[in-house]
């Protein structure tokens, strides 16, 4: 039986944003880095995403945005995570995020924002160093 803990990540789009190429590439890159990645796809509701994080006992939740809904949906995710006592899950956001939104997202409870153009080595290393479980 394996004794090494694999990092488990849930990657998802939220709301009506229908562009998931970036999210899929991130899924592939995390997989290549040896992580086990559950991809939830597009058009997901906040409650469904957080339930999946609970059921999968994920270490990391990654939200991907392109169409600018990050300031609307992220606080709802954070609130639902709090309701489910998921304070040991690392919440990260990625995608086409305006620079001025980064401090706002961090204030909401996002631990790190990776904008388009981030290197895979950056977010892989960040996740490996910062998981809380």
């Amino acid at each position: 039986m394996e004794n090494d803990k694999k990092i488990k990540v849930v990657i998802t789009k939220v709301g009506l944003d229908g562009h998931d190429r970036g999210a899929k590439i991130v899924v592939s890159l995390l997989k290549e880095a040896g992580m086990e990645v559950v991809y939830l796809g597009m058009f997901n509701q906040v409650e469904d995403i957080v339930q999946a994080v609970v059921d999968e006992d994920a270490d990391v939740l990654g939200l991907s945005y392109l169409s600018g809904e990050q300031l609307i949906f992220t606080p709802k995710i954070v609130e639902e995570m709090k309701k489910n006592e998921l304070d040991d899950v690392l919440l990260i956001v990625g995608g086409t995020i305006p620079v001025e939104d980064i401090p706002l997202l961090e204030e909401m409870g996002v631990e790190r924002v990776f904008r388009a153009g981030s290197l895979s080595s950056e977010f892989v290393e960040y996740i490996e160093k910062n998981i809380k479980k």
Partner: protein, 329 residues
């Protein structure tokens, strides 16, 4: 995790705490400290669920079929646990677990627990921990467990040995009668599902499959695999069909197992297999643990590398030294 935390964990799990279910699975899946204790405590509470295995090639429609079956079982008032197994990359150990995406409509249903796991380097589509995970979900308390896995009949760790009823999913265009006749399909399938049955070639393939079943040398009194068409995706909901018949056949097969007393035989075989698997891993752990710090493992491997020894003699020597000797003592 401390041992008394394990007691608490299992108590909550048996009480139906879903979060604790998720955590317990992670602990056991990763073989972390306390996992043997967990399994010892969980074991007496297992054996009550009906286990359905769904297997077949990638893209055959296993997840979509599973999604519909979950809905049907829920309508019958049954609670459902689902284990979705996807392959781990043999190079990086990572995995993309992409089956859950087909089961979104059950996301908020408290009567459905879905867990995605990676095969972690095992051949037969199921990781060794999968057996334990199924047991944990049983102890949590569901009526039915669906295990969906890629690939079939490749080695001893396979769903066919664990499920009560095993569904093998095909689609048209996956081959001719020769494929249907090959070993491995009829041996493992209780139900052969011809999915995407609205596509061209389905009828011919169904005939081939049925022909292969008829030609197979099935002992008298044994279950004869059923070939069932299924359409899971269509623009018109009315065209989605075949799943009621699949559920019916699952129950028919389950009743057959009860009536023919095969259930007891299956349970015996399953335990024999499980015992062997647990012994394998525990024994290996024990021996490697014993060799740790002695430098012997390195010495043995280098001797094999240098051509002075071979793996079989080394294992013999280790067993003679550590296992048989202990027995004599």
């Amino acid at each position: 995790m401390m041992e008394n935390n394990i007691d608490e964990m299992v108590r909550k799990l048996l009480d139906g705490d879903r979060r604790m279910l998720a955590r317990t699975i992670t602990l056991v899946e990763n073989g972390r400290k306390g996992h043997r204790n967990v399994m010892r405590q969980v074991y007496p509470h297992t054996g009550k669920a009906m286990i359905v295995g769904i297997t077949g090639a990638g893209g055959a429609g296993k997840s979509t079929l599973t999604d519909i079956l979950i809905a049907k079982f829920r309508k019958m008032g049954k609670t459902v646990g689902v284990v979705l197994v996807d392959p781990s990359s043999p190079f990086t150990g990572g995995a993309m677990l992409g089956d859950r995406i087909r089961m979104k409509k059950h996301a908020q249903d408290k009567g459905v627990y879905i867990r995605s796991i990676a095969s972690r380097g095992t051949m037969g589509g199921l990781s060794r921990a999968t057996y334990d995970i199924i047991r944990i979900i049983e102890a949590f308390g569901v009526d039915i467990i669906i295990v969906e896995t890629l690939g079939t009949g490749q080695d001893e760790i396979d769903i066919v040995h664990f499920a009560h009823t095993c569904l093998v999913v095909f689609t048209p265009g996956m081959g001719d009668d020769i494929q249907a006749m090959k070993a491995g399909i009829l041996e493992i399938a209780d139900l052969i599902i011809m999915n995407k049955a609205d596509l061209e070639g389905a009828e011919t393939f169904i005939r081939h499959l049925k022909g292969a079943v008829t030609a197979a040398d099935i002992p008298e009194g044994a279950w004869v695999p059923k070939v069932l068409p299924s359409i899971c995706v269509s623009d018109k909901p009315a065209n989605i069909k075949g799943q009621d018949e699949i559920i019916e056949a699952i129950y028919e097969h389950f009743a057959f197992l009860h009536k023919s007393k095969s259930l007891d035989a299956i349970k015996f075989q399953r335990l024999e297999l499980e015992l062997g698997l647990i012994l394998n891993s525990e024994l290996q752990n024990l021996i490697f643990k014993g060799l740790k710090g002695t430098g012997l493992k390195k010495k043995y491997i280098n001797a094999i590398l240098g051509g002075e020894n071979d793996p079989y003699s080394v294992v013999r020597e280790i067993l003679d030294t550590y296992v048989l000797h202990r027995k004599d003592a």
